[in-house]
């Protein structure tokens, strides 16, 4: 049996965790090597020292402190009602409502008639007057003329989108629905702009 293998099995040998066949081999190796015998003695001394360590006394008030904390409700199981309550805390509710609203807008799901929304189903909440696009010509640094198309309906569409966002946020019970909708609408415009730039 190789020395390093015997060395790794000395602790198991001390505990009697080796087969009789392996024990015979280890004993043969120990007979042949003073170095291994020394290591075995060191290991025995280490285990003796370790087992001689006394168990520390617990502080006298540990049980009382635990019981007091249990009585204060610190060990109560977390109930689903607590989680539900957390859903309506501002730190969680605002981003959640905004995410849901943004997702609905992104998916194009109609949101008219949201609970708490004022208009009855089918009632238009804003009208967009049709008008023709306005074409202007811009000149770049080299003097070359570039046509630009401006759609006057875009502002009206933006207002419509903001109103729908406000309705959804009011439906989710958020007190700052108007300002949040405005901010989100700005983010959507910026995202569309960035996407347009990427496509170009």
């Amino acid at each position: 049996m190789r020395t390093d293998r015997v060395r790794a099995r000395l602790s198991a040998y001390l505990e009697g965790d080796v087969s009789s066949r392996e024990a015979t081999r280890i004993e043969a190796a120990l007979d042949a090597s003073s170095e291994l015998r020394e290591e075995l003695r060191e290991l025995q001394a280490t285990v003796r020292l370790l087992r001689g360590l006394p168990r520390p006394e617990a502080p006298p008030a540990l049980t009382e402190q635990v019981v007091a904390r249990v009585r204060a409700g610190e060990a109560d199981p977390v109930r689903w009602r607590d989680w539900l309550h957390r859903l309506f805390e501002p730190t969680f509710a605002v981003p959640l409502a905004a995410s849901v609203a943004a997702l609905l807008v992104f998916l194009g799901i109609p949101t008219g008639g949201v609970p708490g929304g004022e208009p009855a189903p089918g009632t238009p909440i804003a009208s967009v007057a049709p008008s023709a696009p306005v074409v202007t010509v811009a000149h770049d640094t080299s003097g070359q003329a570039t046509p630009r198309v401006r759609n006057p309906n875009r502002a009206a569409l933006r207002m419509l989108r903001r109103q729908r966002l406000q309705m959804m946020l009011r439906g989710a019970g958020h007190p700052h629905s108007a300002s949040l909708a405005s901010q989100m609408e700005g983010d959507i415009v910026l995202a569309n702009f960035s996407e347009g730039r990427r496509r170009r």
Binding site: R7, A8, R9, L10, S11, A12, D17, E38, E39, R41, E42, L43, Q44, A45, T46, V47, R48, L49, L50, R51, G52, L53, P54, R55, P56, E57, A58, P59, L62, T63, E64, Q65, V66, V67, R69, V70, R71, E74, A75, D76, P77
Partner: protein, 220 residues
């Protein structure tokens, strides 16, 4: 401390007896208290904490290296025990369940502190103020282990990786069997043995100079 005893209805008492009978099969000395606690008797929980506080605190002291952390984590462990006590199905001894909760709490604390930082802090504290001296020895032979030796062993223990140290402390200091440790740490018994033997070899390496020097070359 005043405690409230809960009157048990006949049905509850019957279920308690049935559970106690089932637990008796695995010879758990905590069975009766556990049954009462799971039926809502807070006095039984208090008695269980009192019965196991020293074991839990001892394990945490050896794992964390200082009293403040051990006390803090011991309280958290018992609160967790109370919180999740209904999950204890009495398929093992309650003490094993308690060790599992305490071991998880200790390992979580070690992870949250960061292994390296925790080790350095514990060593620094130990060198500055000396490790907390135990008040009563675990067995009569312990009296033979002097304060310096205790300090050396605790210091060497803190140098071991957490998984090896946990197995070693549970086996050599807490006196748990391989099977109990396997249940506590939820690892195979073979892995438990391997960790214990590796930990002992590592500890021997750390303590070699001390062990030899203590007795002028003659090993203790």
């Amino acid at each position: 401390m005043s405690v409230e005893m809960v009157e048990a209805s006949p049905a509850v008492a019957a279920s308690r007896r049935a559970r106690a009978a089932a637990v008796a099969a695995i010879e758990d000395p905590d069975a009766e208290l556990v049954a009462r606690w799971q039926d809502g008797d807070q006095a039984a929980f208090e008695a269980l904490v009192r019965r196991h506080e020293r074991r839990v605190f001892g394990l945490l002291m050896r794992m964390l290296g200082n009293r403040d952390d051990a006390l803090d984590v011991a309280q958290e462990a018992f609160l967790n025990l109370h919180r999740h006590g209904h999950r204890f199905r009495r398929e093992a001894r309650f003490s094993t369940f308690v060790y599992r909760v305490a071991a998880n709490a200790a390992l979580n604390r070690r992870r949250s502190l960061g292994r390296r930082r925790a080790r350095e802090e514990a060593l620094a504290r130990g060198q500055e103020a000396g490790f907390d001296r135990p008040q009563t020895p675990r067995d009569p032979e312990a009296a033979a282990v002097g304060a310096e030796a205790q300090e050396q062993v605790q210091s060497a223990l803190l140098k071991l990786p957490d998984d090896l140290r946990m197995a070693l402390v549970l086996y050599d200091l807490e006196g748990q069997s391989y099977g109990d440790i396997a249940q506590t740490l939820q690892i195979p018994e073979g892995t438990v043995k391997s960790r214990i033997h590796r930990a002992r070899n590592a500890l021997r390496e750390h303590l070699r100079s001390f062990v030899v020097a203590e007795d002028g070359g003659e090993v203790l």
